[in-house]
C-alpha cells in the first residue's frame, strides 16, 4: 500500500480524532463536548448516527434491486454499495461508542429489554442489520481467499438474507425518525410531525441511489476506472420520483400540522427549512428530471451531491437546529466534537480504500480474479 498525499491527510485526521477520543474517555463527555442537560444530543447523534445510517441506505436498496426485483444489470454497483453500507454501520457503532456514557454496556439491549422503547428497536435492528451486511459482504473476502465452501453457503441464503436486510432497514430507517415522536413540545413545528418515521424512510430511499452514484463517480476518478455511465443515469432517473413523493409528504405534514406560518417567520429555523427543501429536494429533483443532466458526469455528480446535502441538512435540522428554540440554548458542536466526527469519517474513507485495493469490489477486479483462477 502506497502512502499517497490523500491517505496522509486521512491518517492525520484519524490520529487527531483518536487523540480527542482519548481525552473524552479520560475526562468525560463534558470536557470535550458542548452538550449539556439542556441539550443532551448533538453532532454525534445528529450527524454520525442519523446521517450515517441514512447515507448507508444504498446497501439495502441496491440489494433489493438486484436480488428481489432481479434487475441484474445493476449488479456491478451492488458490491461497492454493500461495502459502503457495511463500513457506514461500523462507523455508526464507533460513533455510538464515543457518544454513550457507558459504551462498554452497548450490548445491554440484548438482554435488558424494553419493547416500548424506539431506541431499543433501533438498537436491535442496527445490531442485526450490521450482521446481515457482514454476511452480504463476506463473499468478497471468500473470493479473495479462494474459500469455495463458505461462498456457496452464503450464495444459497442470499435471497432470504437480502429480504431480512430490507425489512430491518425499513424498520430502523423509519424508527430513527420515530425517536423524535416523543418530543412534540421540544422539536420545532417545522419538523415535528407524526409523519417523521415515513419522512425519514422516504428520504433514505431518495439518498440511496444518490450515494451509489456519487460513490461510483468519485471512485472512478480516484482509481481511473470507466464510470458505469448509462447505468448511473438510469439509477438517477428514480431520484426525482422519490424526491417528488417526499416533497408531497413534507407539504402535507406542513399543511396538516398547522405550521405553515412558521415557514415565513424569517427565523433561523425557517431559513434552514427553506435551504433543506429548496437546495436539497426541489433543485436536485428538477435537475435529475432533465435527461441531459443524467447523461453528464458533472450533472450526476452535482445533483446527487445536492440530494446528499439535503438529507444531511434535514437530519441536522431535526436533531439540532429544530431543538434550539425549546432548549433555550443554541448548541453548536465544539471543535473536539467535530474532530472526532471528522476522524470517524476519515477512518471510513480510509477503510474503503484499503478494501478496494485488496478485495474484489469492482466488476473488473472480480473478472481478473476469475481469470487468474483459470
Amino acid at each position: 500500500m502506497k502512502l499517497t498525499p490523500g491517505k496522509a491527510i486521512l491518517l492525520a485526521l484519524i490520529l487527531l480524532g483518536a487523540t480527542v477520543t482519548g481525552v473524552r474517555f479520560a475526562r468525560g463527555l463534558g470536557a470535550v463536548t458542548h452538550l449539556s442537560d439542556r441539550f443532551p444530543w448533538g453532532l454525534w447523534v445528529g450527524f454520525d448516527v442519523l446521517v450515517g445510517v441514512a447515507l448507508a441506505a444504498g446497501g439495502f436498496t441496491m440489494a433489493a434491486a438486484v436480488y428481489v426485483f432481479n434487475l441484474k444489470r445493476f449488479e456491478p454497483l451492488l458490491r461497492p454499495a454493500i461495502l459502503t453500507a457495511f463500513l457506514g454501520y461500523i462507523l455508526v457503532i464507533l460513533a455510538l461508542l464515543v457518544d454513550l456514557g457507558r459504551p462498554y454496556r452497548i450490548w445491554h439491549p440484548m438482554i435488558m429489554w424494553n419493547p416500548r422503547s424506539v431506541m431499543f428497536e433501533v438498537a436491535w435492528c442496527v445490531m442485526l442489520y450490521t450482521t446481515v451486511l457482514a454476511l452480504e459482504f463476506s463473499p468478497a473476502v471468500f473470493e479473495r481467499l479462494r474459500m469455495e465452501r463458505p461462498r456457496k453457503i452464503i450464495r444459497a441464503v442470499t435471497v432470504p438474507l437480502v429480504i431480512a436486510g430490507v425489512i430491518l432497514s425499513t424498520l430502523h430507517q423509519s424508527s430513527l425518525g420515530a425517536l423524535f415522536l416523543i418530543v412534540p413540545e421540544k422539536l420545532h413545528p417545522l419538523w415535528y410531525t407524526p409523519l417523521l418515521p415515513i419522512l425519514f424512510f422516504v428520504s433514505a430511499l431518495a439518498v440511496a441511489p444518490a450515494m451509489v452514484i456519487l460513490e461510483a463517480l468519485v471512485s472512478a476518478r480516484a482509481y481511473r476506472r470507466q464510470p458505469e455511465g448509462e447505468l448511473l443515469g438510469e439509477l438517477a432517473s428514480v431520484i426525482p420520483v422519490i424526491l417528488g413523493i417526499y416533497l408531497l409528504l413534507k407539504l402535507y405534514a406542513l399543511g396538516t400540522g398547522g405550521s405553515i406560518t412558521w415557514v415565513f417567520a424569517g427565523t433561523v429555523e425557517s431559513m434552514m427549512y427553506w435551504l433543506e427543501l429548496l437546495l436539497g429536494v426541489v433543485l436536485p429533483a428538477f435537475l435529475l428530471a432533465i435527461p441531459d443532466v443524467r447523461r453528464s458526469v458533472r450533472g450526476l455528480l452535482w445533483s446527487s451531491s445536492l440530494v446528499v446535502l439535503g438529507v444531511v441538512l434535514n437530519r441536522l435540522n431535526v436533531a439540532i437546529i429544530g431543538m434550539w428554540a425549546a432548549a433555550g440554548t443554541r448548541y453548536l458542536p465544539s471543535w473536539m466534537e467535530v474532530a472526532i466526527t471528522a476522524g470517524i469519517v476519515a477512518l471510513g474513507i480510509f477503510l474503503y480504500t484499503v478494501a478496494v485495493e485488496h478485495l474484489p469490489i469492482f466488476p473488473e477486479q472480480r473478472l481478473r480474479l476469475v481469470q487468474q483462477e483459470r
Binding site: 456514557g101 457507558r102 424498520l171 416523543i182
Partner: protein, 312 residues
C-alpha cells in the same frame, strides 16, 4: 367485579349465566383491547394505592429546607448548584409574578414573587421510562419512577424524552450516570415519608394517596377560591403525575410547561405497534416480488432458447 363475586361465592346467583357470559366476554375483550392499546393498563396494578406529594406553592416560603433534607437523605454535598444537577435532585426556584399579591403565609412580606419546589414529576406514564432502551427507568406501582444505574448505557434518550426536562447527566465523570429525584423510594419502602416532606416547616408539602391528595387539593381551592388559581397541575399533564401542584397565580407565571393531556409514550407507541404487522406484510410482499421476478427471468430465458432453436 364478577370474578370476585364468584370467588367469595356469596352472590354467585345474583347474576344469571347469560349476564355473566356477556359481562365476562365484554370485559375480556375490553381488557385485551385496553391492554393492547395502552401498556399502562398492564403496568398499573390496581391493588397498590399510588402515592403522591401535593406541593402547595401558595404556602411555600422558599426556605429550601426540603433541598437540604433531600441532599442529606441522599448523601449529597450541601452546596447549592442553582439548577437541578447530579448533586441537587430538587431545588426551589423564585419567580416574579405579574401583579403584587400578599403571600398566604408571609403576607405583605412577599408581594412580588413566588417560590416553588421542583423535581422529577413521577409521571403516571413516564416518557423517560418508555424511552429507555434497557428499562433502567421504571414506574413502580407505589408511585416512584426509579432508576437502576447498573443497566444504564448513557444514551440520554430519557433526557430528550422527559417533557419536564428533569433527568441530569454526570457530564464531568468518565463513567457517568443519570440522576433525578427518586421519590425517596427507599424511605417509602421502609414506611417513612419522603425526606423533603418531613422537612417542610410551612406544610407546603403533603405526602399521601394520590386520590386523597387530589380531593384535598380541590377542597383547598374551594375553601379559598379568591386566593387559589383554580387548577391542579399534574392531575392531567401528560396523563397525570405523582407530583401535584397548587398555586395562587397562573402556572404559566411560574414557568410550568403547558403540556397535552395524552401520555407522550402513546405517540411513539402508535409507530412501534405497527412493526409486527409491517414485518409480516413486507416479508410477504418482498418474497412475492422475488418469486415473480425470478419467474419472469426464467420465462425469458426459455423464450430465448426456443427462438434460437426455431432459427436453427
Amino acid at each position: 367485579m364478577d370474578q370476585r363475586r364468584h370467588r367469595t361465592g356469596g352472590s354467585v346467583h345474583a347474576i344469571t349465566r347469560r349476564e355473566f357470559v356477556r359481562k365476562g366476554l365484554g370485559g375480556l375483550i375490553l381488557l385485551t383491547a385496553g391492554g393492547v392499546l395502552s401498556s399502562r393498563a398492564v403496568a398499573k396494578a390496581p391493588l397498590v394505592r399510588e402515592k403522591a406529594i401535593l406541593i402547595d406553592t401558595a404556602r411555600c416560603i422558599g426556605c429550601k429546607s426540603c433541598v437540604a433534607a433531600c441532599k442529606e437523605a441522599h448523601g449529597l454535598p450541601p452546596e447549592e448548584t442553582g439548577d437541578l444537577s447530579p448533586t441537587t435532585l430538587t431545588n426551589v426556584f423564585f419567580r416574579p409574578i405579574a401583579e403584587p399579591k400578599p403571600h398566604l403565609v408571609l403576607g405583605e412580606g412577599r408581594l412580588q414573587e413566588r417560590s416553588y419546589k421542583y423535581q422529577c414529576m413521577h409521571c403516571l406514564d413516564p416518557a423517560c421510562a418508555s424511552a429507555c432502551p434497557v428499562a433502567a427507568l421504571r414506574k413502580t406501582p407505589q408511585g416512584p419512577v426509579i432508576y437502576d444505574a447498573s443497566r444504564c448505557i448513557g444514551c440520554r434518550y430519557c433526557m430528550m424524552a422527559c417533557p419536564f426536562r428533569v433527568p441530569r447527566f454526570e457530564w464531568a465523570k468518565a463513567l457517568p450516570s443519570i440522576t433525578k429525584c427518586d421519590f425517596c423510594a427507599g424511605r417509602l419502602a421502609a414506611g417513612k415519608k419522603p425526606a423533603c416532606v418531613e422537612a417542610c416547616p410551612a406544610e407546603a408539602l403533603k405526602f399521601g394517596d394520590r386520590e386523597e391528595l387530589l380531593r384535598e387539593a380541590r377542597e383547598r381551592i374551594k375553601g379559598d377560591p379568591a386566593r387559589y388559581f383554580n387548577y391542579i397541575y399534574g392531575e392531567h399533564e401528560v396523563g397525570g403525575t405523582s407530583m401535584l401542584y397548587l398555586a395562587d397565580v397562573p402556572f404559566q407565571e411560574l414557568g410550568f410547561p403547558n403540556l397535552p393531556k395524552e401520555p407522550l409514550p402513546a405517540l411513539t407507541w402508535k409507530s412501534l405497534s405497527k412493526i409486527p404487522g409491517l414485518v409480516v406484510l413486507l416479508g410477504a410482499f418482498l418474497s412475492f416480488v422475488q418469486w415473480l421476478s425470478q419467474r419472469r427471468v426464467e420465462v425469458e430465458r426459455i423464450e430465448v432458447a426456443v427462438e434460437r432453436r426455431k432459427a436453427a
